[in-house]
Amino acid sequence: MPQLTYRKALNEAFAEEIERDENVVLIGEEIAEYNGAYKVTEGLHARFGDRRVMDTPISEAGFCGLGIGASMLGIRPVIELMFWSFSYVAFDQLFNNAATVRYMSGGLLNVPIVVRGPANGGTNVGATHSHTPENFAAYTPGLKVVCPATAYDAKGLMKTAIRDNDPVFVMENTLLYGQKWEVPEEEYLIPLGKADVKREGSDVSLIAHGRCAITCLEAAEKLKEEHDIDAEVLDLRSIRPLDQDAILETVRKTNRAVLVEENKPFCGTAAQIAALIQEHAFDHLDAPVKRVSALDAPQIYSKPLEDEMIPNVRRIIKAVQEIT
């Protein structure tokens, strides 16, 4: 199977969907002539032209809202935010308009948009550029949130997101764009809401999404080698819909859970998952559910400290040891 970067896998998903559906258009800052700030859309403007791949001015509220409006007439915009941090400029459009017009119209409207871009820290760019708003989005009924951890997942989930008739927010990661995974040549789709056991284990469940799932895999290897602890890694892949069954299943299997996320702890994604576990699998727990979240402060610029701020292998292992 060919190895593809996360970036290239997304790029193929866009190309295939543009070719498949006349209504799919890509819009965003620097995505066309500049080939994308992170080169995710490289070559697509040259291949599909101005009509399908469009550069926008720096007007996030404007072009996100424009995408929502166009989607009400059946266009399927895939809107790039150079960083998810910039969605805060477009908050009303994304969290008010996109999330509620279907409901408020009594189901007369739907908003088949994808809003996508990186949402991560760990890149030494300071607080304004390091937000991870998957919890904000998942908090909002009407929105769907996807956080792919590998190239394979990124492609399969993105294609599904584009075909979805609801607004889907896809949160990627700049630190994953250049990493490679196996991606089949033939077409495939991954349904939203289907978590993936990325490593089988029996002693403890590490439950994560996005790049944290990869960090968990590294931690699991180390736990095995150095501490003889066999960790299972469950990658949620999407936050809403959330694969509750898979979460409960792994907890019932290992009886211990460490939830790992780049969200801050207060009302972060893991807080919701912890609540579900205690409600539905309380009798299966041999220890309290642990969370490894980003430290609870605005993202610090200084790189060595930022690396401590977001979940890392050391912090995950420490949390596991506290309950095993």
Partner: protein, 365 residues
């Protein structure tokens, strides 16, 4: 009030008549003041070059947006600031920082993420602040500073202080809604703010033509009945001479304005923008360096005025390079912020241990 149409090059601030016409910069500045303007431009350039070198050495990471080519704007704006004037800008903020008197040491250390940095290593390149110098940042979100500029002006007016706020933004930032809302508020409430568009012709890889309808950009001010002007940013004198009357009117009559200063950045958008010769030609870049470089032009002007001799030019440059090199050494040898610093400066209440409120503020365990 009659509206000027598009052929109007500007809608000028009426020069004050009381006391006669203002003297031009060339005649009103002392020799030392002129040399300081020149020296500060050289200092900015050498600082930026040194920081680029540190980035290439891997000592600085993240984003580094260099100001090289735009130096005249920073020194001219700062030099016009009186004791109650304020300034705020976007993420391309090192030039303004040095111009208002921040030291190279604290700036470089911030880029290195060190505790001795101007923000203790918490903000980084895009987020420099020096409120005691009335420099309010350093803002990473495009257009995010534009309502703040109006707010600073609001505070001045509310406190009945005779001052103004210079709010800088890029040519790409003019397309953010927040900027337009700010213009309307400023005009509606007569706030002493001057929006200074640093038009370096590109927002990342997008030329003005591909991002903005209507030109000049400052002309959008007319929609809000505001005064505006376009200024050649390669001349320190011209920036000062044309900007000063707007600042006078803002201070004295609370009249906001928009000025657009034409300039150019020689480097990529940030250091990560390696292919900046793809969206603009080498010839275009060379033309600016050869014919419009603000430092070179000002050097010539001062030479013609007999103020600056060859030996002084060399000495200023040598000193600036040394100051920059020393700042890199200072940054390198400075300590990182201690880990407990992650949780300071989040809440005033916690930092000051007021004990006034109950309940938890942090949720790490």
């Amino acid at each position: 009030m009659t509206k000027k149409t598009s052929q109007a090059a500007s809608k000028r601030a009426k020069t004050k008549t009381a006391g006669g016409a203002k003297k031009s910069t060339a005649s009103s500045l002392s020799r030392d003041e002129k040399i300081k303007l020149y020296r500060d431009m050289v200092r900015i350039r050498r600082f930026e070059e040194r920081s680029l070198h540190a980035y290439q050495q891997g000592k600085i990471g993240g984003f580094l947006h260099l100001y090289i080519g735009q130096e005249a704007i920073a020194v001219a704006t700062a030099s016009l600031m009186k004791e109650n004037d304020h300034i705020i800008t976007a993420y391309r903020d090192h030039g303004q920082a040095l111009s208002v008197g921040m030291t190279m040491n604290e700036c470089m250390a911030e880029l290195y993420g060190k505790f001795t940095g101007c923000s203790k290593g918490k903000g980084g390149s895009m987020h420099f602040f020096a409120p005691e110098k009335r420099y309010w940042g350093g803002h990473g979100i495009v257009g995010g500073q534009t309502p703040l500029g109006a707010g600073i002006a609001f505070a001045l007016k509310y406190k009945k202080v005779e001052g103004c706020c210079l709010c800088l933004l890029g040519d790409g930032a003019v397309n953010q809604g927040a900027y337009h809302e700010s213009l309307n508020l400023a005009a509606l409430w007569n706030l002493p703010v001057i929006y200074v568009i640093e038009n370096n012709r590109y927002s990342m890889g997008t030329s003005q033509k591909r991002s903005s309808a209507g030109a000049p950009l400052a002309r959008r001010a007319e929609g809000y009945d505001m005064e505006w002007e376009v200024i050649d940013g390669s001349s320190v004198y011209e920036i000062r001479d044309k900007l000063a009357p707007f600042m006078d009117r803002a201070r004295e009559e609370q009249i906001p304005a928009v000025v657009e200063i034409q300039t150019y950045r020689y480097r990529g958008h940030s250091v990560a923008d390696a292919n900046h010769e793809k969206y603009r030609s080498k010839k275009e870049i060379e033309n600016y360096k050869k014919n419009h470089d603000p430092i070179m032009l000002f050097q010539r002007t001062l030479q013609k005025e007999g103020i600056l001799k060859e030996a002084a030019i060399e000495e200023i440059d040598r000193e600036a390079k040394k100051e920059a090199a020393d700042s890199a050494k200072f940054a390198d040898e400075s300590p990182l912020p201690p880990e407990e610093e992650i949780f300071t400066d989040v809440y005033w209440e916690v930092d000051h241990k007021t004990g006034r409120n109950h309940g938890r503020l942090f949720f790490n365990d």
